[in-house]
Symmetry: C2
Subunit: 445 residues, 2 copies
């Protein structure tokens, strides 16, 4: 007999089916045992009555507990009216067990998977099992939709996907702390902190490119925002007029992501009591100083976290948008490859996209002139010689271009209003943990 998924039972009333999955719950009700069976289609209720089963199945039934893996033959039946549960997709049916076989046993669980008050460290210590709980599965199904719809939106706009390297020869951007790798011949390599330089090179090849690359940050800091390993979703496009072309493309991509997430996962938001993301008519765009004027804040080189939250609240109330663009940051406050706004120097063509109070994307038009780029590198005290590979693209003709970058974990967290970004990564790496807790010397004393 072919396997039936739990969700498919609703169309098979009266039929004999073969189900396979995990025991998600067990309820003993006198002579009847109710089991919830979990598979990739969801959950369905099984009913065990000794008189309906063969002797071996009756014995096995006594043993099965949470997370045992079983195979069940049974008959789908409609529940009595009073037993129907409209909150569950399979709430109208149950499966009367005829035969039950055990595929894998499970030890008694060390924690209650349904308990959503479990602390973060306990959750992370037991990821291989806590991730099985529906509320965790939900987070990573939403994350899957985000990354897949990011790619989908850009493919529709003729962007070419490329694979950006993780091992790099130097800390090219000269920015955030970088992990060192023991490479061959006693040389050091580094883990990429961004696919930036490669996506610019690739813009010289395919004009429009994107990549979903792993990047690594060795910042010694233990906040709710910090991760050592991140999935970054980047695109870069050539032949733009200015940063507004990049922002228009980004808005299109984000709206596509939001539409897909809402279409597929509205029930997840309902369950968690989180409002659906609002993308309004058009994302509001403010110059940095305009945003500060609205907030009655003094002019400065960046928004502080409190201001980021306040301008997002304003945009939500006034423009029905959870997203806000901020432009015209000072050039000196942005990466060295940022294009300066000729008529408004020292302001730049960089921008940030805020989402529910937090920056989730940063982008800009980039410098495309070889000579200007060499000057910019020198002006930050960096050595152009170290950038010779990257600079070759510019020596031989680069179009005006720009792009931007979104952290997959951060947008997932903001989407579901998860306060700690570590809960939006399957296997978070940070200062204290690579799956197992590290025992830093500091803690041992």
């Amino acid at each position: 007999m072919n396997r039936t998924l739990s969700i498919e039972t609703v169309t098979k009333i009266g039929e004999e089916v073969l189900l396979k999955g995990w025991i998600n719950a067990r309820r003993n009700m006198g002579k009847i045992v109710f089991l919830d069976l979990r598979d990739r289609g969801g959950i369905v209720q099984l009913v065990g009555v000794s008189s309906q089963m063969d002797a071996e199945s009756v014995e096995r039934m006594k043993d099965v507990r949470h997370e045992w893996v079983v195979e069940v033959t049974g008959v789908v039946q409609e529940r009595g009216e009073k037993q129907k549960n409209s909150n569950v997709p399979t709430g109208n049916v149950e499966v009367l067990i005829k035969e039950l076989r055990v595929l894998s046993m499970a030890e008694p669980l060390p924690i209650d998977l349904e308990d959503d008050k479990v602390g973060l460290d306990i959750h992370l210590d037991h990821l291989p099992i806590t991730l099985r709980a529906e509320r965790w599965q939900d987070v990573f199904k939403v994350q899957e939709t985000i990354i897949q719809s990011f790619r989908e939106a850009l493919a529709q706009e003729q962007f070419t996907e490329f694979q950006s390297p993780a091992l790099v020869g130097g800390d090219a951007e000269g920015g955030s702390a970088v992990f060192k790798v023991d490479y061959f011949y006693n040389q050091k390599a580094y883990l990429a902190t961004s696919p930036q330089l490669y996506k610019q090179i690739m813009t010289g090849v395919f004009e429009r490119v994107f990549t979903t690359a792993k990047i690594f940050r060795a910042e010694k800091s233990a906040t709710t925002r910090h991760l050592s390993e991140i999935v970054q979703m980047d695109f870069e496009m050539g032949f733009i007029n200015d940063q507004y072309d990049v922002m228009a493309m980004l808005e299109k991509v984000i709206k596509h992501i939001v539409a897909r997430v809402v279409e597929k996962h509205a029930s997840v938001f309902a369950k968690r009591g989180v409002p659906l993301p609002l993308s309004g008519e058009k994302f509001p765009i403010f110059k940095l100083h305009e945003a500060q004027d609205i907030l009655g804040a003094p002019h400065s080189d960046d928004l502080d976290p409190e201001q980021e939250r306040a301008i997002c609240e304003w945009a939500k109330k006034e423009k029905n948008s959870d997203f806000v663009f901020i432009t015209h940051f000072p050039t000196k406050a942005r990466a060295w490859y940022t294009y300066e706004e000729p008529s408004e120097a020292p302001l730049s063509r960089g921008f940030d996209l805020l989402f529910r109070g937090l920056e989730i994307n940063s982008g800009a038009q980039r410098v495309h002139s070889y000579e200007t780029l060499v000057e910019k590198i020198k002006s930050r005290g960096l050595d152009p010689e170290k950038f010779s590979f990257y600079l070759e693209a510019f020596k031989y003709g680069m179009p005006p271009h720009g792009g931007c970058s979104t952290g997959l974990e951060r947008i997932t967290a903001r989407m579901l209003e998860i306060p700690n970004v570590k809960e939006a990564v399957l296997f978070p790496r940070d200062l204290n943990r690579i799956d197992l807790q590290l025992s830093p010397p500091e803690n041992k004393q």
Copy 2:
């Protein structure tokens, strides 16, 4: 005026258009200059006649050379019958230039981009420009189709995409050489050599999962097969009967990839003189010893490279398939998590998929019993304590499952019959190179 892409000119005869792109070639023919303009849509011929242009454009026209980035306003016209070139998609038209503006200049190229006899090192030294040549763009457009259709095929089969970590706490598989990373608190982390253990954990969560993850191999060897950084395309599925369920899924995925590649890139194969991949009616399946019998070779624990080639030739001739499955390798010759075939021990439920003479995929049914797995780990001299995180999934109920893994670079290379896998990676990392040539101490003496 909106930009027109080169390929769109064929539907705009008689219209004025705005084109943007790179100069791909320049031919002076007396008073007329022909320019090939390259953009993401392909190549179109521009015609420059001084009397048709403004004075400034005439001056600029004198300067423009290969890889200059320009913006051109002109009128699309049909070519004379004798000038038509049916080998080029835009071969029926040309664009008479009215205005030409320069967006970026380029220095004279250090190498001839059209020269396909350039050595590998020269190519790699100049990747930011050599990748712009059509024959290189072709390789990476095919590669994009391979990875995207891998994901597409598995999404259709209800597999969940997940992000597997690159930083790991130990050399978990105990196999190939591993790169060390300086992590926090003077501790070492490692770069993942495979997403294997994580995709098994995730099979306990979502039943069917896939990932396209970066993996890293520190093997000190400089063959045409070796890379330090690889994109691995993995899937894993629960509730299988045996390895044949995994092989059937893999065959479906590969056939989808082949169909998409042929549909989108048949012209690339034609240009390169490479036959389209044959996927036959059904991929032939041989037990290892059966394959050796067919070849008249003595029985041994694996096929050698010559035998891999020979059995593929046999399959192509007899079964019209460039793909062949080999099964029933000895358990001791496979990874420790491989399931042993109970009735045929010491043979295992592992398999390889060969494609045009080379193994491109390796897979198996895996051990799913906690106790057996702990024994297997010990039997290879490894310490189960180091696997406690992974083993937690098994302690609490894992279904029978299996999966497999394909290197993106290797399948790309075999697809296009590229002899050296380094030519199927945009930015290959190996013993001697991370973009720039390393200068290993050995070479300095």
